[in-house]
């Protein structure tokens, strides 16, 4: 695969690493008992610890620690029995402590890896450097008042897992696939709700460019991207910016950037001269975090089937391609839906590929068009199974089945009901099809002449005419075969 992008003068390779911030799905915050509920009125979920009142002491949430371990196991990573909380010092209006409690030298989770799957059937491992626990900051609102910034501390102190990748990513698409995969794993594990819009999952992206084979170039970090679309846009823009500078003889300045979602451009953050002096040191309010082998074992045994395991199972049981299986397992609701569909009729196991296609292309596009979610799909797995069975037994054609599915979607009727009511059964009677074809040939002598003179494309025209006459119900393969036979006989 060629992952290079063209500059004016050279071909360039983009080198990308991601720091993903995933909010732990917990009831209370990492070091205080305030609620983590999203969308509450401002400053209503702030304890004295979260507001950093003098003398307050942090007490760690056991559940958050377990979720970090669980996530680490899901990322095939090493769990550290011993980790330490450090203070990361900086001043900002939404950080009342003046420091963020984070983990620096001794994170709770060490090296791991995740696999991303490409459409062409190949896959690639992205290495994880670490996962550590840290506090989220409060939220600043800059656009509510012309002269003031508003600060809401409800998010202050909520537990985050920061997942840091190695710079193994090479294209914007890979970056998108990587974060999708992480999101999928988090959601199967139920350790994060994966809601990017609400900011439960967001990423900082490190980008540099180089000529293939060269050392890594100087990187820039784009902060706080909360959609896959923006991540890809930001990478594309930033890579082009860096290439233009390098090709015109300049050099890249290591910088922290912001991405403007309305212009699609990146620009350097201000106050950068102090940005990187965090003066980490162990938080004297917290003892080191120790987790025993037994505790890790217990968490391990509670882990559900993860997307990759499920994927391999689907490949083996249903002979699906790697890519189809990875699309099915990307989200838990999709794999659940597939399982229910294929188990609704014992015959369907032999038509797994058709089931996949009808879920991931036809049903998904209907859901998208109607702004609906698979969880509340108007077409139940059993009904979709029935539809696929009608297709696989040649009772209706694939083309008709699309109309039937749309009808099922809007009316809530079963496939069987619709096919019976509208008389949509496929015409598979040779004689009947032949009769229609004779009619078409008789009505279009000029076209037949042209076809026989070598205008092969006209075959489609005849097929279309015959389909029209049978209201789309003729078996397409039989129609094609008989048509060709008849036309060639004229020659």
């Amino acid at each position: 695969m060629n992952n290079l992008i063209k500059g004016e003068k050279y071909d360039w390779e983009i080198v990308i690493g991601l720091e993903i911030h995933a909010q732990v799905k917990s009831n209370s915050k990492l070091f205080s008992s305030s609620s983590t509920k999203f969308g509450s009125s401002p400053n209503s979920q702030v304890s004295l610890v979260d507001a950093a009142m003098p003398g307050m002491l942090p007490v760690i949430n056991k559940y958050c620690v377990e979720q970090a371990v669980k996530t680490g196991i899901g990322l095939n990573a090493k769990i550290n029995n011993y980790s330490v909380f450090d203070r990361k010092n900086y001043f900002y209006a939404d950080l009342p402590q003046g420091y963020q409690i984070s983990q620096y030298k001794y994170p709770i989770v060490g090296e791991g890896k995740v696999t991303i799957d490409f459409k062409d059937g190949t896959s690639k491992d992205i290495r994880i450097v670490r996962l550590h626990l840290e506090q989220d900051a409060g939220k600043s609102l800059h656009d509510q008042n012309p002269s003031k910034t508003y600060v809401d501390l409800n998010r202050s102190g909520v537990a985050l897992m920061e997942i840091v990748s190695e710079p193994d990513i090479r294209t914007p698409d890979e970056a998108g696939m990587y974060i999708s995969k992480i999101r999928s794993i988090l959601m199967y594990l139920d350790t994060c709700d994966g809601n990017m819009q609400e900011g439960s999952l967001r990423a900082d992206v490190n980008i540099s460019v180089r000529k293939p084979g060269d050392e890594y170039g100087t990187r820039c970090e784009i902060k706080n991207l909360n959609s896959i679309k923006f991540i890809k846009q930001a990478i594309n823009y930033e890579a082009k910016r860096q290439i233009e500078i390098l090709e015109s003889g300049g050099s890249i300045e290591q910088n922290t950037m912001l991405f403007n979602t309305s212009t699609g451009k990146t620009r350097p953050m201000r106050n950068k001269e102090e940005a990187h002096d965090y003066r980490y040191f162990p938080d004297p309010d917290l003892l080191p975090l120790e987790i025993s082998k037994e505790e890790i074992g217990k968490i391990k045994s509670s882990i559900p089937e993860l997307p990759d395991e499920l994927k391999n199972k689907f490949i083996e049981t249903y002979k699906l391609s790697n890519y189809d299986a990875s699309v099915l397992t990307a989200e838990k609701q999709t794999s659940d839906y597939f399982n229910e569909t294929i188990n609704s009729d014992s015959e369907l196991k032999n038509h797994a590929k058709i089931v996949v296609n009808w879920i991931t292309s036809e049903l998904f596009s209907l859901l998208n068009k109607n702004n609906q979610d698979l969880n509340n799909s108007p077409v139940s797995p059993e009904n979709l199974g029935q539809l696929v069975k009608l297709i696989s037994t040649n009772e209706i054609s694939g083309k008709i089945a699309k109309d039937v599915l749309e009808d099922m979607f809007s009316s809530g009727k079963t496939a069987r009901q619709i096919v019976d009511e509208k008389g949509l059964q496929q015409v598979t009677d040779q004689g009947e099809i032949a009769k229609v074809i004779d009619e078409v040939i008789a009505e279009n002598p000029k076209m037949v002449e042209q076809y026989l003179a070598g205008k092969d494309k006209l075959l489609g025209f005849f097929v279309g005419q015959a389909m029209k006459l049978t209201k789309g119900k003729a078996n397409p393969k039989m129609l094609n075969d008989i048509l060709k036979q008849k036309l060639n006989k004229k020659n």
């Binding site: 609620s35 702030v46 001043f91």
Partner: protein
């Protein structure tokens, strides 16, 4: 390690503390004498010894994941120099 004028200015800026020349001189003197004193520890050979994060031998206490309704806005905002619509109001941060 020696604290000079540049270092003291940097530390002051990071801490958001404004120092005049006289104060800077005083702190340079104080901090240097503290550092000299601590530097005696360099006489101890610490090769292959992991740094100690905490001298206590007790175990980190943990709490269960139970949230308490705080309904805190009034109390939390009580000491705020400026508040508006339930938020802390701070000088505009331009970023």
């Amino acid at each position: 390690m020696k604290i000079d004028k540049n270092t003291i200015n940097k530390i002051a800026r990071l801490s958001r503390i404004k120092l005049d020349d006289k104060e800077s001189e005083d702190y340079i003197k104080d901090l240097n004498s503290i550092l000299d004193w601590v530097e005696q520890l360099n006489e101890v050979n610490t090769e292959n010894v992991e740094p100690l994060s905490n001298i206590s031998s007790s175990i980190l206490p943990k709490r269960e994941d139970v949230s308490k309704d705080t309904n805190s806005s009034e109390e939390i905002l009580e000491n705020a120099p400026d508040k508006l619509e339930g938020f802390f109001a701070v000088p505009k941060v331009v970023e």
